[in-house]
């Protein structure tokens, strides 16, 4: 065998006219079109020409047989082929075939018939028009065909899949459809102006290989009279324009974003120190002096009110304030509140503007001292705004700057500090630091307030029962009425500097004295806020109430809050203890001022 090969190669080299390579006879393929017969094909190669002619045989053997048998039919399938008809074919039986001449075996193949199934192409291709588009440019067709005649599909012996391919006549690439079992398929959106070619091939369903293609089917719409030769070409999607415009739009957007964001970039890079904020209050408003707006914001918030009554909030305030070392030296609450120290009159005595959060407690107690001028100053207002306010004395306060800016400094001086030291007493009521219930003319108030520049160490507290939308603080009606009564009784209005923000000591005494004799005052006057402002002391009202017996009206019909009582104890710097009972007689320590009445003093004043 080896020698023979060498001889052939040498012989091959000497030949120049014929093919350079020697090709052995080879079995090219074995194929069964319908799983009933099969054929094997081979190539003789050029060997046959080179040497003495030899007869090539195809031998086959079933796996369960011993002997090789010769091909039963060399003719039916053409030259160099062997055809096995149905009687020789066993489908699932392994066969081996070999190509041999007398002594040589040239090639050998083993297979089983079910593995070599390659169906014939489908026949009888045709197409029908389904519909055309409104413009007549496109049309849908249905293509039908028949399975290959050799395949016995009807009895289910073989199951075929079909693949359809189509293209325009002048195109080179075929479009394929997914293989399917049915013998018809629709083709959509074909251009009626163009002609198409269609071809189909089939395979056994679980095989991978397809058989040959069918004959080509030509589709021409003009043949059936709906060709649209003069139709305009379909406008292709203007990709170029889309891209250009898209890029331009994007660029414009990016640039505009960049430009508009520039001021904010600074904010992003250097963010401001975060401080607690109240919802809805923009610290910038304070800076710019738009206190009215801030006021309205404050007043409008419902949770503003609720916060007023949140005891825990107060406790926290107190706690924090208490720890401030700067406070330790303060003599009295009021002193602290009304500290002349401008550093501290920033609204928050002794509380530095750091991140401790204490500064957030800062509330413009100013409302206490200055009702007329103050709008509602939220106890829980934005510490941030107050911090900023602290930096600018005139900004402090009850945000009511609409009238007199110049009066503010004075107010600032008398600024209460934020802290309300209220240790809890039985009447634990949150207190409105500001009680701005004054609707009296502000200018008047301001001037009056300015009269009260002097600071006293008087502590003056009242209970806020409600906040009007306008931003005024409504005091507990009982107190109001009481006070009103008290005023009526004997507290002549002019004795009271204005509308009452503060009660001068003398006035207080007067009032008290007068009212003490009054009892059961029938009418409770609905005083305007002018008079209410703050009632410094609950003690005031309380005592009035005490003396006056039960008031004509319940203290507060709307709210279930008790009146404030007098300040019982001042644990400076820790807080005040309110006392529901009568107050002690004021003593000489009582400073003459219409600022705060200190609790002690008040206690002493009150019987």
């Amino acid at each position: 065998h080896l020698l023979f090969t060498l001889a052939l190669i040498c012989a091959n080299d000497s030949l120049s006219a014929s093919d350079d390579l020697l090709q052995w006879p080879q079995i090219s393929k074995c194929r069964s079109p319908e799983m009933e017969t099969f054929s094997c094909y081979w190539t003789a190669g050029n060997f046959y020409n080179l040497t003495a002619p030899r007869i090539i045989q195809l031998l086959y053997k079933k796996s369960n047989e011993e002997d090789w048998k010769e091909c039963p039919d060399y003719i039916t399938s053409g030259q160099n082929s062997c055809y096995f008809n149905a009687s020789y074919t066993s489908v699932w039986t392994p066969y081996c075939v070999q190509l041999a001449s007398k002594n040589e075996v040239y090639d050998k193949k083993c297979f089983s018939v079910d593995e070599i199934v390659l169906p014939d192409p489908p026949v009888h291709l045709n197409w029908t028009l389904l519909n055309t588009s409104q413009t007549g440019i496109h049309g849908d067709i249905q293509v039908r065909w028949d399975p290959p005649p050799t395949a016995d599909v009807r009895k289910g012996w073989i199951t075929l899949e079909y693949e359809l391919q189509y293209k325009e006549v002048n195109e080179t690439k075929w479009k394929e459809l997914k293989p399917r079992l049915s013998t018809m398929v629709p083709l959509y959106s074909l251009k009626t102006a163009r002609d198409y070619e269609i071809r189909i091939r089939s395979r056994q369903r679980t095989s991978e290989k397809f058989g040959e293609f069918s004959e080509i089917l030509y589709v021409s719409f003009s043949q059936i009279g709906i060709g649209c030769d003069h139709c305009t070409e379909e406008v292709e999607f203007p990709w170029f324009l889309v891209v250009v415009f898209g890029v331009c739009g994007l660029a414009v957007t990016v640039i505009s974003i960049m430009l508009s964001k520039q001021p904010r970039l600074k904010m992003l890079i250097f963010p401001p120190v975060p401080v607690p904020k109240i919802k809805g209050i923009d610290p910038d408003l304070l800076k710019k002096g738009k206190l009215d707006e801030v006021n309205s914001i404050l007043a409008c918030h419902d949770n503003y009110k609720t916060q007023l009554y949140n005891d825990d909030l107060w406790v926290e305030f107190i706690e924090l304030d208490a720890e401030d070392p700067d406070e330790k030296n303060r003599a009295s609450d009021t002193d602290r509140l009304l500290s002349e120290d401008h550093l501290k009159s920033h609204g928050c005595l002794g509380v530095k503007d750091d991140d401790s959060g204490r500064a957030s407690c800062c509330e413009p107690d100013i409302p206490e001292t200055d009702f007329s001028a103050s709008d509602t100053c939220d106890a829980t207002s934005d510490s941030d705004q107050f911090k900023k306010a602290t930096e600018k004395e005139e900004d402090l306060l009850c945000l009511d700057r609409q009238d007199n800016d110049e009066s503010l400094p004075s107010l600032a001086n008398t600024d209460p500090q934020c802290q309300h030291r209220n240790t809890q007493s039985e009447s634990s009521h949150p207190w409105a630091p500001f009680a701005d219930s004054i609707e009296s003319p502000r200018p008047l108030v301001h001037t009056q307030i300015s009269n009260q520049n002097s600071l006293t160490s008087t502590d003056f507290y009242a209970q806020v029962s409600d906040i009007t939308p306008a931003g005024r603080v409504v005091l507990s009606p009982g107190q109001k009425s009481k006070l009103g009564r008290a005023q009526r009784e004997g507290c002549i209005e002019q004795n009271f500097t204005m509308d009452n923000t503060y009660f001068c000591e003398a006035d207080v005494k007067k009032c008290i004295a007068v009212t003490s004799h009054e009892e059961n005052e029938p009418h409770v006057q609905e005083q305007s806020y002018n008079e209410d402002g703050y009632f410094t002391t609950e003690s005031l009202t309380t005592t009035v109430a005490n003396f006056g017996g039960s008031t004509a009206e319940p203290p507060s019909s709307e709210m279930p809050v008790a009146d404030y009582t007098s300040i019982h104890i001042v644990h400076s710097p820790q807080g005040l203890v309110l006392n529901a009972t009568a107050l002690p007689v004021p003593d000489k320590e009582f400073n003459v001022s219409c600022g705060y009445v200190s609790t002690d003093q008040l206690n002493k004043i009150m019987p």
Partner: protein
Amino acid sequence: TKEGVTSLPICPNGSVNCQLSLEELFDRAVKLSHYIHFLSSEMFNEFDERYAQGRGFIAKAVNSCHTASLTTPEDKEQAQQIHHEDLLNLILGVLRSWNDPLIHLASEVQRIKEAPETILWKAVEIEEQNKRLLEGMEKIVGRVHSGEVENDIYTPWDGLPSLQLADEDSRLFAFYNLLHCLRRDSHKIDNYLKVLKCRLIHDNNC
């Protein structure tokens, strides 16, 4: 592509004593048999690609399957001449004979070194679907059979030791053979069922 076989409810709408028609039973059986053959074919191809190249397995072509002892129709003529009850029994016999080998195939194939995940899950899937097909066939036989149902057709399988040979080559050749036989037998069953369906349901006019 993986062809999924969804599980159709036996009794839609919750009816209690519903019965599937014979046509529906055959439809499901054919779907299952096609799916099993499809999986077997793919599994064999993957195994061939991965393990059999260069080892000359094809050349050996011994391929004696354990079900060879069952005389099943080998061409269309025989398939058309055999009585449908006999054919059904034969199908059942082949399916039962494969129960055992499939179980072991699923477990032993995991011991092949670095067996691909696709082969592993296919083996498990085939084993599962074969059981379902067996149940379906028993239902069909119950409907179609007039007389007794033969349970005798069955060939035991003794190829487990060959799947556990120490020599890797021999072991892989045993797998190759088994997968080859599986592909062939699943094709047989698929074909027989289609022939029966066309004959019984569509009156030879599929």
